[in-house]
Symmetry: C2
Subunit: 211 residues, 2 copies
Amino acid sequence: MINLMIVDDHALVRKGIILLLENYQDVKVVAESGDGHEAIKLVMKHEPDIVLLDISMPNGLDGFSTARQLMQSQPDIKVILLTMHDEEVYIRKAIQTGAHGYILKKSKGSDLYEAIYEVYHGRRFYKVHISDEQLEKMFREEKAPSSVLTMREQEIVRLTVLGYTNKEIAEKLNISIKTVENHKSNIMHKLDLHSKHELIQYGINNHYIKG
Amino acid sequence: MINLMIVDDHALVRKGIILLLENYQDVKVVAESGDGHEAIKLVMKHEPDIVLLDISMPNGLDGFSTARQLMQSQPDIKVILLTMHDEEVYIRKAIQTGAHGYILKKSKGSDLYEAIYEVYHGRRFYKVHISDEQLEKMFREEKAPSSVLTMREQEIVRLTVLGYTNKEIAEKLNISIKTVENHKSNIMHKLDLHSKHELIQYGINNHYIKG
DNA sequence: ACCAATATAGGGGCAACCCCCTATATCAAA
DNA sequence: TTTGATATAGGGGGTTGCCCCTATATTGGT
């Protein structure tokens, strides 16, 4: 019997998961919660094998942070992240966080069960749109992170996407326009982008704005 | 007996709704669908009283468009929009679309039932964070639309937010750079904006990108 | 102790942007 | 019918962005 806990701020989704899992007799939902803080307490009490964790949750404690805290306090626990976002940034963050599984909310019940089954038996389960090779690459890169943007560069991207001019960015960050230009240029090279709209669209797709 | 159809691209959410509504014997789910195109066909077949419609759906046919089409083909049908977004723009769009109800995914089962019950009996049901007075105002404003930007101007805003240069926009729309500049200038005056980032942020806040 | 990455800053030059004008054709409304 | 809104296009000029360089200080890793 696999003991499961569900954490999602939408009651609808929690109930949906329960209904989808009713067909699988070896899975039992022992607890459910609508926020990360409560989840951390409930894990102590119910000691589930696996926590199904929504990424987007309110009150400052999102799925990633909750996952990290859970895994620190209960090292044997397995975490499966559940999300709407089939995007590279989120997958990377899940890998960084050390999540055992990653599945999408649009998944069928069988995928959900498969994820639970595989993760319970110690295997990794990431069901995403990108290819296995790319995924492997991302896991490898996580051990040697290099290709990502630095904090400063991320800040530059964010402000650029929001439409600030180099001058305005320079003023906001108290640096020279030339430094801003250099950062931008470095970002373009790192990401192999060749035009302004590619940079903007990278920023939008990777949620440099809202969320 | 109220016949209900559920349209949401996430199976999880559909099942969750079904489970939450099991407590209410006067509601029956007669059909469910994962996309808008299929939903339109299913409505013909099952003739539900109310369609519960998720706003964010793929394949170009989101909840708003689906709602419009459904209400055109079946004028008696009631539509309740279901969404994660408790934001003014979405609420405005729902009002424009003529949705009978608007509830959030984080709602409890009782809210969901209340929405269905009220809408079935010909009343409007918008359960959102903003005050009733504001909501009334938005309904009133909808009858006297003074939607500022023209189609062409909206297109210019959209492409600008996405980071295209004036030159690129001109090429895309087969017009001169000068025309693009003029449009931009007119937009800035109309909206009383005074910098590029204000325009971009107007575009982002008013969902000129994704959604 | 050295090398790579990061963050900072500048020069020069060309392209693009932004803002001030003017100007035309169309179309709908007063 | 005249006016106003829309869509188109151009001239001129000042500002900014983008890209090619070079350069320095700091930090962390082999």
